[in-house]
């Protein structure tokens, strides 16, 4: 699932370029820090990315998940740390929802 979601998240980050102070680095990859000390997103950028990833997942997979998480601002455990951690977190939630319906 993670392999599927990284390009989806990268695409959403590119679409945010220029909005809410987001400057997408040329070497954007799954290890790019999203939020936190070296992150490329400020809080409004993070909010926008999370919402657009939720909507893209809804459109592509037909699954409605909520990427909201209380650990959002934690430096070490936040699912929003990097592109890869967000992809992993989203993948986990999709599996949970599919498990409930399957």
């Amino acid at each position: 699932m993670r392999q599927d979601l990284v390009p989806l998240i990268v695409k959403q980050i590119h679409e945010l370029n220029g909005q809410h102070g987001v400057k997408v680095p040329a070497d954007l990859s799954s290890d790019t820090p999203l939020f936190g000390r070296e992150g490329i997103l400020e809080s409004l950028g993070l909010v926008s990315l999370v919402v657009s990833v939720e909507q893209a997942i809804e459109d592509e997979f037909g699954v409605s998940i909520s990427l909201a998480d209380d650990r959002a601002l934690a430096q070490t455990k936040s699912p929003y740390r990097t592109v890869a951690s967000l992809a992993e977190y989203a993948g986990h939630l999709i599996q949970q929802v599919e498990g409930q319906h399957g």
Partner: protein, 232 residues
């Protein structure tokens, strides 16, 4: 015709039903919800059966709206339950029910609707509270506390969502002749009405008028406000 899409919660009866009919008359596409079926039919109205505190149900409803109409212009959080009782006689289950429907339900709809409105960079949210909050009405502790929370939620969301072009306001009706107050003794209602500058029952039209005002294109600079009816 590109109709504005307006979502109203608690449309089976009372204020919610009136607002659904009102905005259909004004040319909106109206989406409504309640825990039970909608009696009758209404053109340009779509009804969902959903409990406002059911996260997955609310998410699904708003996702359907986004997929079907591609927009959501307005949200009115009207669904609510009351508990008219002395605090010492109020069961905990009632307190939980009131908080869950009134506060959690309002929060969920605001959160999900704002995600769609954000992509349009436009949205108007109106949350229903009550004059019982500023009047600190005795005998309704759980209900008043829940609606005070709705007011605080409105004021904080107004700030959080302003950057996305979304306004969030509240409206506090006086007693209106609905099921919600049918069980309240007449002398209590009379005492309550006497605390208003204009001591009469509110009407559905009074409420719709305030919502119309918040929805006006010219009202884009008005957010985080609560307008109480009757001069409270």
């Amino acid at each position: 015709m590109d109709r504005p899409v307006t979502l109203v919660t608690g449309t089976r009866k009372g204020i919610g039903r009136f607002l659904a009919e009102h905005f259909v008359r004004l040319g909106h596409r109206v989406i409504g919800c309640s825990r039970s079926e909608f009696d009758g039919t209404l053109e340009h109205y779509v009804h969902y059966r959903v409990d406002v505190s059911d996260e997955q149900g609310v998410k699904q409803l708003v996702a359907d709206v986004r997929k079907t109409w591609g927009r959501l212009d307005h949200l009115i959080n009207n669904a609510g339950i009351a508990s008219m009782n002395h605090s010492l006689l109020t069961p905990l289950s009632t307190v939980r029910d009131v908080l869950t429907t009134n506060v959690v339900g309002t929060f969920l709809f605001c959160r999900e609707a704002a995600k769609v409105m954000k992509t349009m960079r436009f949205g108007r949210i109106v949350n229903l509270t009550t004059v019982a909050v500023p009047l600190k009405l005795e005998g309704e502790a759980a209900y008043v506390a829940s609606k005070a929370a709705v007011l605080s939620l409105t004021q904080v969301l107004a700030k959080e969502l302003a950057d996305f072009g979304i306004t969030v306001n509240a409206l506090g009706p006086v007693p209106t002749e609905t099921d919600l107050i049918r069980s309240v003794p007449k002398d209590k209602i009379d005492r309550l009405l006497s605390r208003q500058a204009i001591p009469r029952f509110g009407t559905f039209e009074d409420i719709a008028n305030v919502v119309d005002f918040y929805f006006k294109p010219e009202s884009g600079f008005i957010t985080g406000q609560c307008l109480y009816l009757g001069g409270v």
